[in-house]
Amino acid sequence: MRLKKRSPDFLLFLTTMLLLVIGIVMVFSASAVVAEQKFGNAYYFLKLQLGWAAISLFAMVMVMMIDYYRIKKLAWSFLIMGLVFLVAVLIPDIGKEIKGAQRWIDLGPISFSPAELIKLCMVFFMAASLSQTGEKIKTLRGLIFPHLGILGLVVVLVLLQPDLGTAVVLGGTIYLMLIAAGARWAHLFGLAVTGVIGVIAIIISEPYRMRRLTAFWDPWQSPLDAGFQTIQSLYALGSGGLFGLGLGRSRQKMFYLPEQHTDFIFSILGEELGYLGVLVVILLFFLFIWRGLRIAVTCPDAFGSLLAVGITCMIGFQAIINIAVASGSMPVTGITLPFLSYGGSSLLFTLLGVGILLNISKFSTSR
């Protein structure tokens, strides 16, 4: 089935670019003091992020031009590649341990996170497999083999790093894809219950996760320990008020709020640009989700449609969780804010996803 090519979705592109620009500005603002302190160069993280942005944008444009149907054919290969890296990162000599978790693979001057790769690979695989499965997804057998089976394997590997945040984002994304693919509500309900029980079990099994969970209910119980990040994040957001302290004027970035240019960049944004800045960013993510799902709806084929759903949900769901953590609405879990957080792998795979979305948008039916 070949349709007339249209121009890619401009609003999605614009939204992406705006988020990217805001991200680069905020990475600089949030990281300058730390960079100056650590590397004697305030522009250290800015330069790296600009480099990664350029590479990622180039990759995005390249992906826009390929025939996205080739992804369907290569879905198993992508999955296996993702799994190889995921296993590799667990091997002590290959994976780099940072802060007690093995999440990075060192590739000479750069390091990348297989978790970012596997998320995209899983979306590819699920979109391909679910479009193939068709109506059989309504059967338990069709649901479990291979979808839940593969998901379970990947989630276990991710948890071995351990990286609960990514596991939750991945599980959530695939779950949203299963909804879109038309799985039975009863099955979906059972799956949700299983998932929640699983997450609770994992939290209870690890004392530090348990502390984070209780600290979420009342961060002021342990202001120097588990509640520290939440409190410092709330301090930042609250300090911003309606209009913010002004760009570059964050106080909490002065070593008070950890991960200020990565996981907690949203808090610095809230402090410097206030509630208005926060609203703009949330609005941009809303636009992104809207355009992404619109592309899915208007896509003439099931694979493209499910692929668009997967990519949109992957980015949108991760953004929601990051913002929920920053605003103290959820226990702390270390995941980045797509487009905004500092980090090469995150940006690269996010923009690759956007490239595919834009690619699919070229083939939409007129609606």
């Binding site: 038309g182 509630y275 609203l279 103290g328």
Partner: protein, 590 residues
């Protein structure tokens, strides 16, 4: 389009709504954090980032009633370190070395202080100006001065027990400085600087100076001149007789205002560490003594008020009065024979007073003892006041009554005794003893003014007048002749009490000599109590040791107050300092 696509499309709408709702909830949540909790969180964040250096408030001044300074606060420079800044400068060793040299301190001690894990550390208080200059010139990072105020008592020992002492941290430790600490100390200010989490000052940081609110000043009821007179006479006595303790209190009987209060042994509040702790004891309010004969004033007042006795009521003293197994004797086993009650008072006849007490009965007697304020705090605004000890009314037997009536068995504080005598002097009202006339704010404006407070009426005006005449007679012709003051009619009573021995009975070699009285007798301007605890040597009688001191104090005080003479003055040697002359007078044994 395949049929699933329609289902898929509907499911995608659901997803969209689901995600949109979550985003909306996040917008609400963030609105709450930013807009509702924002101000509070901002303050908390600010507090979290602020380091502050306390700036002490200046302690209020203590003035005498004529606004002469008795205690004031002077500023001194205190050196402090902000250890994170010192550590960051990397010059800890050099700073410690230089500071140790200038201040004459151990280098290791300085180094430990300036690198301690704290935000703010005092290195040395009271740094002399030239050292301050030298240190300031070195401009060390994280080393600075803050003004600290230091209490200074310009008149040294004068009224030390009233003024009290205050410590280095700007808190009153004793005396008025303690009891009025909250008024005097003010509210400390702060210098606040915003820091990053590593203890570095941040660019465009918040600097705030919250100025301290200086303390209020107090105008005391103390009259510096009268206090000088009292201190002089007390010191003379203390040097001559070396008693264990001694005190003189001068009170205005009509208002209850304390005009002077001095104690021995004493201390210099500027240098209180160099005196034994016992010297800081305010004998006038903290010590309870058996009052001895001065308490007969109370017995007489009770008897007259109750109508049990009249000034001309006849008494007979055989020198002894059997009470149960005991016998009450008059001093030196003298027998006074037939006498009127007025003579009983003038002669300080124990037998007469004991029988008066027995006539009155326990209930009436205790009623007056309590009404005059014994067994209760006078509530003079000084810390450490004693209650005194009364024989419990339920246990009081005849022997108690007989001895209490002549001033034994009970223990009273000097301030209680004088306050009670003031009630006799002023027409019958027990006054609240006062030490503070007005409270002044920083600008010298009166923010609180005290007025005389009548605690209760104890005896009638008529009783007061009768008793004044009887007490005048004591000084004019009785045991208190040494208290006479040329040119004035003086009323008063002597007292020589034995001191209870530990374990029962009385010491044979220690006495408390006292005199309490007022002048001029008709319209009393001052009431004075002189009490000497265990004077060395002989004589130890109140009439011989205390009365002359009373006379000297009253003479100079009345002259200073400009009270006109009531009686013709025989010789014109008013220039002769009082005290010396009284001692030359012929002494009479009570």
């Amino acid at each position: 389009m395949n049929p699933t696509a329609i289902g898929v499309r509907r499911r995608i709408y659901y997803l969209f709504i689901f995600l949109a709702v979550i985003l909306f909830l996040l917008i609400l949540r963030l609105g709450w954090v930013h807009l509702v909790q924002g101000e509070e969180l901002y303050q908390m964040a600010l507090d979290n980032r602020m380091r502050d250096v306390p700036v002490e408030a200046k302690r209020g001044t203590l003035y005498d009633r004529h606004h002469k300074e008795l205690a004031l606060s002077i500023s001194s420079d205190a050196l402090y370190a902000i250890p994170p800044e010192v550590r960051q400068s990397g010059k800890e060793q050099q700073i410690a070395q230089e500071l140790a040299r200038i201040l004459g301190m151990e280098e290791a001690v300085v180094l430990e202080k300036i690198t301690r894990n704290s935000r703010h550390e005092w290195i040395k208080l009271k740094v002399p100006p030239e050292q301050v200059e030298e240190i300031k010139r070195l401009r060390f990072k994280g080393i600075d001065f803050a003004e600290k105020s230091q209490r200074f008592y310009p008149k040294d020992n004068l009224a030390a027990h009233v003024l009290g002492i205050s410590g280095i941290d700007n808190t009153g430790l004793e005396g008025i400085d303690k009891s009025y600490d909250s008024e005097l100390s003010g509210t400390p200010g702060r210098i606040v600087i915003e820091y990053d989490a590593g203890g570095r000052e941040i660019p465009q940081a918040m600097h705030m100076y919250i100025p301290p609110k200086d303390g209020h000043s107090l105008v005391l009821t103390i009259d510096e001149t009268i206090q000088y007179i009292v201190e002089r006479e007390l010191e003379k006595l203390y040097q001559a007789r070396q008693p264990k303790a001694a005190t003189i209190i001068v009170m205005d009987p009509s208002t209850g205002e304390i005009l002077a209060l001095a104690c021995r042994p004493d201390f210099n509040p500027n240098d209180y560490n160099h005196y034994p702790a016992v010297n800081r004891r305010n004998v006038a309010i903290s010590n309870a003594y058996e009052p001895g004969s001065v308490f007969k004033i109370i017995t007489a007042a009770a008897g007259l008020e109750e109508g049990v006795v009249r000034p001309d009521t006849p008494f007979y003293c055989s020198g002894g009065l059997p009470v149960g197994k005991h016998t009450i004797h008059c001093a030196n086993y003298r027998a006074h024979g037939s006498q009127r009650f007025a003579d009983v008072v003038a002669n300080s006849c124990n037998v007469g007073f004991s029988s008066l007490g027995l006539n009155m009965g326990v209930n009436s007697f205790y009623k007056y003892v309590r009404a005059f304020g014994f067994g209760q705090k006078s509530n003079i605004p000084l810390p450490g006041e004693a209650l005194g000890i009364l024989v419990p009314q339920s246990q009081a037997r005849d022997i108690h009554l007989a001895t209490m009536a002549m001033g034994q068995a009970n223990a009273v504080t000097p301030i209680q005794m004088l306050t009670a005598v003031c009630a006799v002097a002023n027409g019958g009202n027990l006054m609240q003893p006062q030490l503070v006339r007005t409270v002044l704010n920083v600008h010298g404006e009166v923010i609180q003014e005290s007025s005389p407070q009548v605690v209760r009426r104890v005896i009638a005006q008529k009783t007061s007048e009768e008793l004044r005449l009887l007490l005048e007679e004591v000084v004019a012709n009785g045991t208190g002749k040494n208290a006479q003051v040329e040119g004035y009619r003086v009323a008063g009573k002597t007292g020589t009490a034995q001191k209870p021995a530990p374990g029962g009975g009385y010491l044979t070699d220690e006495f408390v000599a006292s005199f309490v009285g007022f002048a001029p007798a008709e319209q009393p301007q001052i009431a004075v109590l002189v009490l000497i605890d265990a004077p060395q040597g002989y004589p130890y009688y109140g009439g011989l040791v205390a009365a002359p001191v009373f006379s000297a104090v009253v003479k100079d005080t009345l002259r200073y107050l400009g009270v006109p003479y009531e009686l013709p003055v025989q010789n014109s040697s008013v220039e002769v300092p009082a005290g010396e002359k009284s001692i030359e007078k012929k002494i009479t044994v009570p």
